[in-house]
């Protein structure tokens, strides 16, 4: 059993063994697609879509990122758990940014303009703050 003691962990198969090689034409095609999408990203800024510009830019960037992750970084051919790890990480990022953004937008109306004190002349008991 020692020989295959890795058996219960994750047994290597054709996709995850030491050898899956991405065909060169796939890499080249992805590269060309990325270039095209870059041109598209720049071109879209010349069109005024109002608020949508940001989302279109993010969508195109997301597409480019997807291509890099799936093909250059092999995730398409790797074991599914690596995809779980990557998507889980993205989930936490989205959670973080979404909640913080929601909060800052929600309390923005409560901010009073003109109320930040002039720190330079404040003398606290623990010394003057750094200028």
């Amino acid at each position: 059993m020692a020989e295959t003691s890795a058996a219960t962990t994750d047994h290597p198969d054709a996709h995850t063994g030491l050898g899956h090689v991405v065909p060169l034409w796939v890499l080249a095609a992805v590269f060309v697609a990325l270039l095209v999408l870059t041109v598209l990203t720049v071109a879209v800024t010349l069109v005024d879509l109002g608020n949508l510009n940001l989302y279109v830019a993010l969508a195109i960037a997301g597409l480019k990122a997807g291509l890099v992750v799936l093909y250059f970084m092999h995730l398409r051919y790797d074991r599914p758990f690596h995809l779980v790890v990557f998507l889980g990480c993205l989930g936490f990022v989205v959670l973080f940014i979404a909640l913080v953004l929601t909060d800052t937008r929600a309390y923005a109306p409560t901010l009073l303009p003109d109320q930040a004190p002039q720190m330079k002349d404040v003398h606290t008991p623990f010394g003057t703050p750094r200028p």
Partner: protein, 287 residues
């Protein structure tokens, strides 16, 4: 372990099975999972900066609409193309290592390294320009002129924070003297949007800036330098790793049985590219 000869006829001299692993597959798989976990930590590291970006852009869009005009779109696009190309050469280098093609490995890794230098070169050109024009973060933000594409009628109000502002000296409840703030507020009127900006936007819907300089533009440059600076540090680290792998590749250490250093360094490099793929539109291509 010199018993492994492969298609190109060289030996995988760099390979040995670590004492605590049972099979080469286990060792390779462990390394791969390890590097993916490390990449997720890098993504989360940058997520803080993307969050700061999102917060400030959402609440003060006028700062971003104005300040991004200082950035050179063409240099940014050039850097994007350079990095994408370097990702391609890196992926091809990994492929060459898997096939045991020593010469191609070395060439492609060297090409990737050259692209890295090119990227940093363009970056330093941009940074030098910022320095010359006084476009730095925080207190050091002293712009020489408004950006191209902006029509600024009044001379910008430099927040001379060292000298006090005109106006009364209100006292707080605790008797501490509070100068009325010399920091002009970034947002007046509808939350997040300055009235002046709204008026300017109405006048020129194609995105060019017409109107006075918004307040607190230094925030944009704070975020800009933090994001591109941290990214640049990662590019440097990636280049160091690629250089080390290049040295080992020249010695013929990698082949179908052992190519994990090339593979893992490649994954790191692709991450660096991924971050830039988002940085470019968010910083340079704001409409």
């Amino acid at each position: 372990m010199t018993d492994a000869t492969n298609v190109a006829g060289h030996h995988d001299e760099g390979w040995h099975l670590a004492h605590h692993f049972e099979t080469p597959a286990q060792q390779f798989e462990s390394g791969k999972l390890g590097i993916w976990l490390f990449l997720t930590t890098e993504i989360l590291l940058f997520s803080g900066l993307f969050c700061a970006y999102a917060v400030y852009r959402a609440n003060h869009p006028e700062i971003f609409a104005y300040a991004h005009l200082y950035l050179s779109k063409s240099l940014g696009a050039l850097n994007t193309v350079v990095l994408i190309f370097s990702s391609f050469t890196m992926a091809a280098a990994v492929r060459a290592a898997q096939l045991g093609q020593t010469r191609w490995q070395v060439r492609l890794l060297a090409l990737t390294l050259v692209c890295g230098f090119a990227f940093l070169g363009v970056k330093s050109v941009e940074y030098q320009a910022k320095w010359k024009e006084g476009l730095l973060a925080g207190r050091a933000y002293q712009p020489a002129a408004p950006p191209h594409g902006a029509v600024v009628p009044e001379p910008p109000q430099r927040a001379e924070s060292a000298t006090g502002a005109a106006g009364g000296q209100p006292e707080s409840a605790g008797g501490m003297k509070l100068d009325k703030s010399t920091i002009a507020p970034a947002a007046v009127g509808r939350p997040g949007l300055s009235e002046k900006w709204l008026q300017g936007k109405a006048a020129h819907p194609d995105g060019h800036w017409v109107g006075p300089e918004p307040n607190n533009v230094q925030l944009f440059f704070g975020i800009y330098f933090a994001m591109t600076g941290l990214h640049g540090v990662h590019v440097l680290a990636g280049m160091a790793a690629i250089a080390w792998v290049l040295v080992r590749a020249r010695r013929g250490e990698f082949g179908p049985k052992y190519f994990s250093p090339v593979d893992f360094t490649g994954l790191y490099w692709h991450l660096v590219d991924l971050v830039w793929i988002f940085l470019f539109p968010l910083l340079y291509l704001i409409h």
